[in-house]
């Protein structure tokens, strides 16, 4: 689904309101009214009525304050109570995603359907080719019997009028690992044993029924505390806000961070280690190696494609190396990763050096809440300039290109990229594990286009990929550093 849509906007509006409540010490009775403020009287209903709109917004606020919302124990609890609880929390916890059951439409089971375009032809290839005889002819056109249909899609393929259409369940279709399903009431539920935290369901649900648990309250709370708080920005940040990297860094300082470092420096460490590891593995006679920096991919291997484990690089992610370095240089500092990624939250929970993870969407909401006009700020100089390759990590092909550059022309690197972890891509990865990989270095990015197309981005992928390329063009190559 096109990323710019109303569901996204509502989510951002909620984040902005919650951030404002935190920054402006909003009194509890005002916090309780956030849903009313976002959805005042006399506006067009999005759902059945204004009350449902507000009830859903209330749940969005709860998720924005960092809580899971499925099976809410006390649905009469006030937002201000949640807000207070959020501020008392000392560390955020999993799972990363949460389903707003009342927002879920409860889409009917994914099915094929014959539309009005059916001409009732006499050839009837749909009926003739249906392997289970699910198609009958009624009132001058074909009808599919949902009881017998096995969803094979043959009829859609063969209809000369393109009259058969598939009505999917968007979240189920988007989930690459079958982790989202329907409970007894027909509403979506996530199986967290299977979930890889990629965020695809969140961006695909047309009703905005899946959200992630935000950490904005936690981070603002940390900023209020005594310890220095350091923002570690992912290279995909170029183009996420209007202005250059230095202006964005200045914006983060205005938010109250004490320092901003580029994770692209960590990416440089990842590149060097991964290139060395690649050469070693090839030397040992291994057939292929896959990259390891995409956390949704790593979760996929752990939970679903364990046969790939021996091929995954042991090198740690850019976030890890950056956080480790920051903790060493600034003992006692709080580390906050700022990136495009929802799955990084899961990685953050598991990494001892990472305290919090924010998405660009959350940071954008904080900018708005604090009225920080990024594009007119002064640009601040970074104390360390990472390589072009490190800064190029977030665009599809970027990691493989970096490793190839460092491994050198004689290394015989044959890169293969998995651009987006779709259901088909998971199948492909399985076949790679069985020895059917057309190359020897597999770069996996769970999001189409790379991290710049992540579930937590603000800017359109096209726009940000261009900005990332600009930044890379003005940086030195890792081979010349």
């Amino acid at each position: 689904m096109q990323y710019q849509n109303n569901a996204t906007k509502f989510r951002r509006e909620v984040l902005i309101r919650v951030a404002k409540a935190m920054l402006e010490d909003t009194p509890p009775e005002e916090i309780d009214k956030i849903p009313h403020r976002i959805r005042p009287k006399n506006e067009e209903n999005l759902r059945c009525c204004i009350y449902k709109d507000r009830a859903v917004l209330r749940l969005r606020c709860v998720a924005a304050m960092g809580f899971s919302v499925e099976n809410e124990e006390d649905d009469s609890a006030r937002l201000s109570d949640y807000f207070e609880k959020a501020q008392e929390r000392t560390s955020p916890d999993g799972p990363v995603m949460t389903v707003l059951d009342i927002a879920c439409k409860g889409c009917v089971r994914s099915r094929y359907y014959v539309t009005d375009a059916c001409q009732g032809c006499i050839a009837r290839p749909c009926a003739v080719n249906c392997p289970v005889d699910a198609i009958s002819f009624r009132d001058g056109r074909s009808v599919i019997n949902p009881e017998t249909c096995i969803n094979c899609g043959k009829c859609k393929e063969v209809c000369p009028y393109h009259a058969v259409t598939k009505v999917p369940v968007p979240c189920e279709e988007a989930c690459p690992v079958d982790a989202i399903y329907k409970d007894r009431t027909g509403h979506a539920r996530i199986n967290f044993e299977k979930c890889i935290s990629c965020g695809r369901c969140m961006r695909s649900c047309p009703f905005g029924a899946v959200m992630e648990k935000s950490q904005i309250v936690d981070v603002l709370q940390a900023i209020k505390g005594k310890a220095p708080v350091i923002a570690m920005v992912a290279p995909a940040i170029a183009g996420q806000f209007p202005g250059d990297l230095g202006q964005i860094a200045n914006g983060l300082m205005k938010l109250g961070f004490d320092k901003v470092v580029e994770v692209a420096s960590g990416a440089d460490i990842t590149t060097k280690k991964e290139a060395a590891e690649f050469l070693e593995r090839m030397h040992e006679g291994q057939k292929m190696m896959t990259t390891s920096c995409c956390p949704a991919y790593i979760e996929t291997v752990k939970r679903h494609v364990t046969e790939l484990k021996p091929f995954v690089s042991d090198t740690k992610t850019p976030m890890h190396y950056t956080a480790e370095d920051v903790k060493k240089r600034f003992p006692g500092a709080v580390t906050v990763f700022v990136g495009p990624c929802v799955a990084k939250r899961k990685e953050g929970f598991d990494d001892e050096f990472v305290d919090y993870v924010l998405t660009f969407e959350e940071v954008g909401s904080l900018f708005v809440a604090k009225d920080i006009e990024v594009c007119i700020l002064e640009s601040i100089e970074p104390d360390e300039i990472p390589s072009a390759e490190g800064r190029g990590f977030p665009v599809v092909g970027g990691v493989a290109a970096a490793v190839t550059a460092v491994a050198g022309p004689d290394a015989g690197v044959k890169p293969v990229t998995i651009n987006g972890l779709s259901q088909a891509a998971v199948k492909k990865l399985r076949s790679f594990a069985c020895g059917n990989c057309p190359g020897n270095l597999v770069e996996v990015m769970a999001c189409e286009g790379g991290c710049v197309g992540g579930a937590g981005v603000v800017a359109a992928t096209k726009y940000s990929a261009r900005e990332v390329a600009k930044v890379c063009a003005s940086s030195a190559s890792i081979t010349s550093m």
Binding site: G239, E373, A459
Partner: protein, 87 residues
């Protein structure tokens, strides 16, 4: 030739609410209309501070505000203006 000025707001609020996709508005316009366009990028126009202008992102076409702007809505308005100019 009469110009059509298009001002895209690149202020933080508008950007967070989706203005990065707005430059795409020109993709659906004909060459002759595109030539008339004078494109500007503006920092916060101040509209986001006032509820009465509707919702971000904002675009001004010949000074007239489009709220909750999308590339499509901007293109439609430009085409209307171009037609009026031709008459």
């Amino acid at each position: 030739m009469e110009k059509i000025t298009v001002e895209l707001c690149m202020g933080t609020t508008c950007f967070v609410m989706g203005s990065s996709s707005l430059p795409e508005f020109s993709e659906s316009l004909s060459e002759s209309i595109r030539e008339k366009i004078e494109l500007k990028h503006s920092p916060c126009m101040g509209l986001c501070k006032d509820q009465k202008y509707g919702k971000a992102p904002y675009v001004k076409v010949n000074g007239e505000v489009i709220s909750a702007a999308t590339p499509h809505a901007v293109a439609v308005r430009i085409r209307q203006i171009a037609e009026e100019q031709d008459d």
